[in-house]
């Protein structure tokens, strides 16, 4: 590989690219001049002379090596080890709304397991007319549904409850991904088993050692929950529950049981570890909310942000971010550059999709002065994303989960950015 024509000269290419990027900050005025001819234009480049790679070089491709920093990252102090842990989607470097599976955050309670389709079994038992076992092949024979949904860990932004802590939208807001799922409606599977009238809940669990059992009311189970086996057009990745996971639109990610192996129809909630000792929200008076399944409307400016400062100096600037709501579609996103004194309604790249991510843009002309960047989502119910202080007034500071407060990035004159809170 290293001896191929073109490779040695990639260094020259990198140098040229570097020079170009260094030259950019000077080119801030509208009428930019070029002192000397650009060799990238005037000289024939290797990639314009020699052949590139053939079609057999990469049967399944990864991003080009120049994008090797667009990766999931772990916050090592969060957890005792990486087996029962979480990592973060690099939302600061992505655009559009669909999260590529390869960098979509992972959360495991006993590690990501390798479960082959021939070894896969899904059981429905409990308060049903027929207790059934399905193979993976069986799942593919049921009528299919499709939908784009965000999956957000309830602990997303949880480290920020007591104050600004992590520098980067990847770390403050990256426990989320948004994919297009294909699978079977859970109600279709439940109809196959025949839910008895006394069945008011389901208990779902995975095939991994943690099993991560969770209880879900039958109304939600019969509404939009699905058993998915494809995401973004391909089979689920191992780390996202291959070969089948639960998709629970709009509700906290912990309910989206991966490697789904069993659905039990029950009369009441099981009150498992993940719905009592965890994923409950302690208020200032020590009383805790339980069954806080819904993810409320939230947004964040993904760029510029601490990991992706402004490198081009004053002038045209794309301010962009993501917004989502577990209670419906995003209808509006407002952006403030002055810490919430004044707001401008941003442009939605596409109309909001219920329980899926929406991309917003504010086409701004930066004057080179400091900014306190914020975004504020509004969903179809009329709910307006609150400030962190408004949440604290109601919940206190001991909550961990469901922090959907407005995020502030302090953009400095040099274009760098920091996670701050403002009055």
């Amino acid at each position: 590989m290293t001896d191929r024509p073109g490779t040695t000269s990639r260094r020259a290419f990198m140098r040229a690219g570097l020079a170009a990027s260094v030259a950019l900050p000077a080119a801030v005025s509208a009428a930019r001049g070029q002192g000397a001819p650009d060799p990238l234009i005037t000289e024939v480049q290797d990639w314009a002379r020699y052949s590139g790679e053939g079609v057999d070089a990469t049967p399944y491709g990864l991003p080009i090596r120049f994008e090797s920093d667009v990766i999931r990252r772990n916050v090592s102090w969060l957890t005792a080890d990486t087996i029962s842990s979480i990592n973060f989607t690099p939302i600061h470097q992505l655009d559009g709304t669909i999260t590529p599976a390869g960098c979509a955050f992972e959360r495991h309670h006993s590690g990501a397991i390798e479960l082959a389709k021939p070894d896969y079994r899904l059981m429905i038992n409990g308060l049903v007319d027929r207790e059934l076992v399905f193979t993976y092949e069986d799942l593919e024979r049921f009528p299919r549904t499709q939908g784009v949904y965000f999956c957000e860990c309830a602990a997303n932004s949880g480290m920020e409850w007591a104050g600004a802590q992590l520098n980067g939208s990847q770390f403050t807001h990256g426990m989320i991904h948004n994919m297009e799922y294909v699978g079977v409606s859970l109600k279709t599977l439940l109809a196959e088993a025949g839910v008895r009238p006394e069945g008011k809940w389901i208990f779902v669990e995975g095939a991994d050692a943690s099993s991560n059992g969770r209880s879900i009311p039958i109304e939600k189970a019969m509404d939009d929950v699905m058993v998915a086996f494809k995401a973004n057009g391909e089979a689920l990745r191992m780390e996202h529950g291959y070969p089948a996971r639960l998709v629970v639109p709009g509700w906290e990610g912990n309910l989206w049981v991966k490697w789904l192996r069993r659905i039990e129809v029950t009369a009441g909630p099981v009150e498992s570890r993940e719905e009592t000792s965890k994923y409950t929200d302690t208020l200032a008076n020590g009383i805790s909310r339980k069954w806080t399944w819904v993810m409320d409307a939230k947004s964040v400016v993904t760029a510029p942000s601490p990991q992706v400062g402004i490198t081009h100096g004053p002038g045209p600037l794309v301010i962009t971010g993501l917004a989502w709501s577990g209670r419906g579609a995003i209808t509006r996103v407002d952006v403030s550059v002055d810490g919430g004194r004044n707001w401008t309604t941003a442009r939605l790249a596409q109309p909001g999709v219920p329980k899926a991510m929406t991309r917003f843009y504010l086409d701004h002309v930066w004057d080179g002065e400091e900014m306190l960047l914020q975004s504020r989502a509004v969903d179809e119910t009329g709910y307006v994303q609150p400030t962190k202080n408004a949440l604290r007034e109601i919940r206190g500071e001991n909550s961990v989960y469901h922090n959907n407060g407005i995020q502030t990035w302090w953009i400095k004159k040099d274009g760098s950015a920091e996670n701050v809170e403002v009055s």
């Binding site: 772990n74 102090w77 969060l78 005792a80 087996i83 029962s84 006993s110 059981m123 038992n125 059934l132 076992v133 069986d138 009528p143 309830a154 602990a155 949880g158 480290m159 007591a162 600004a164 520098n167 980067g168 109600k187 109809a191 196959e192 192996r261 039990e264 009441g268 099981v270 009150e271 570890r273 009592t276 000792s277 994923y279 409950t280 302690t282 020590g286 805790s288 339980k290 069954w291 819904v294 409320d296 407002d334 002055d338 004194r341 004044n342 707001w343 306190l372 119910t381 709910y383 307006v384 609150p386 408004a390 109601i394 001991n398 961990v400 302090w410 920091e418 701050v420 809170e421 009055s423």
Partner: protein, 237 residues
């Protein structure tokens, strides 16, 4: 429906077996199908018994068996103490299982079985199903009863001669059993946060009140190593 689509539907119906052959669902209505298609097979009682392990607060799902505190301590020291500490106090970032009484309304509450968990069934269920971490489901029901008894003892909730069994299980009440309410956001938050927001001159002034750089715990930063003292938990363990 064209001829070819009819033929396709027929083929699908035949492939699906006798049940769906009786009631073929038109492709257009497929996602709304509520009639059984005859897919899957009956779960055998042995199979249901093997996977249907969950235990509910009323004791549903508990198998026969019993275990005492002292036996539980031995098993705990062998299988659990490496992460959770000899006295269930928790080591490093691994969860503490005892202590924390009276901390729920203070800053950084310590949430343990004794201070926070509402139901003993959750302890039994989780230990039986998911522990020991990295070697799950090796414990017999008697061993799980014993460990559960030891965890009650560690939380000063029973005496050292206590024996936990299926028969007395539901008589044990955990201190924070009444400490939970159902999600009340629809009443306490949604009305407050569903008001048309201010767009101009919403505040007199804006001051920065907190900087993330003060803590400097972001991975990949120059001083990321300074994050040894985990500043705030996020409920991830």
């Amino acid at each position: 429906m064209s001829k070819s689509r009819k033929a396709a539907a027929l083929l699908i119906a035949l492939a699906a077996g006798p049940v769906s052959a009786q009631a073929p669902a038109p492709a257009e209505d497929a996602p709304a199908a509520v009639r059984p298609l005859g897919l899957g097979r009956p779960a055998l009682p042995e199979e249901v018994a093997a996977w249907n392990m969950d235990v509910s607060p009323d004791g549903t799902g508990l198998p026969e068996g019993s275990g005492d505190v002292m036996t539980g301590e031995e098993i705990y020291l062998e299988h659990c103490a490496a992460c959770h500490g000899d006295f269930a106090e928790g080591l490093d970032n691994w969860p503490s299982l005892a202590g924390g009484e009276g901390t729920l309304d203070r800053e950084d509450p310590e949430k343990t079985i004794g201070s926070y968990w509402p139901h003993l069934s959750t302890v039994w269920d989780y230990v039986h199903h998911s522990m020991p971490f990295g070697n799950a489901r090796i414990l017999t029901p008697d061993e799980v009863y014993a460990i559960t008894a030891y965890l009650l003892y560690s939380n000063d909730l029973v005496e050292e001669d206590f024996v936990l069994s299926k028969d007395n299980f539901t008589q044990v009440r955990l201190p924070n059993a009444q400490g939970f309410i159902e999600d009340d956001r629809p009443q306490t938050e949604y009305p407050v946060f569903s008001v048309e927001p201010c767009m101009e001159n919403c505040k007199d002034s804006v001051e920065i009140t907190m900087h993330a750089s003060v803590l400097d715990v972001t991975p990949g930063g120059e001083d990321a190593g300074a994050a040894e003292d985990a500043p705030a938990q996020a409920g991830i363990d």
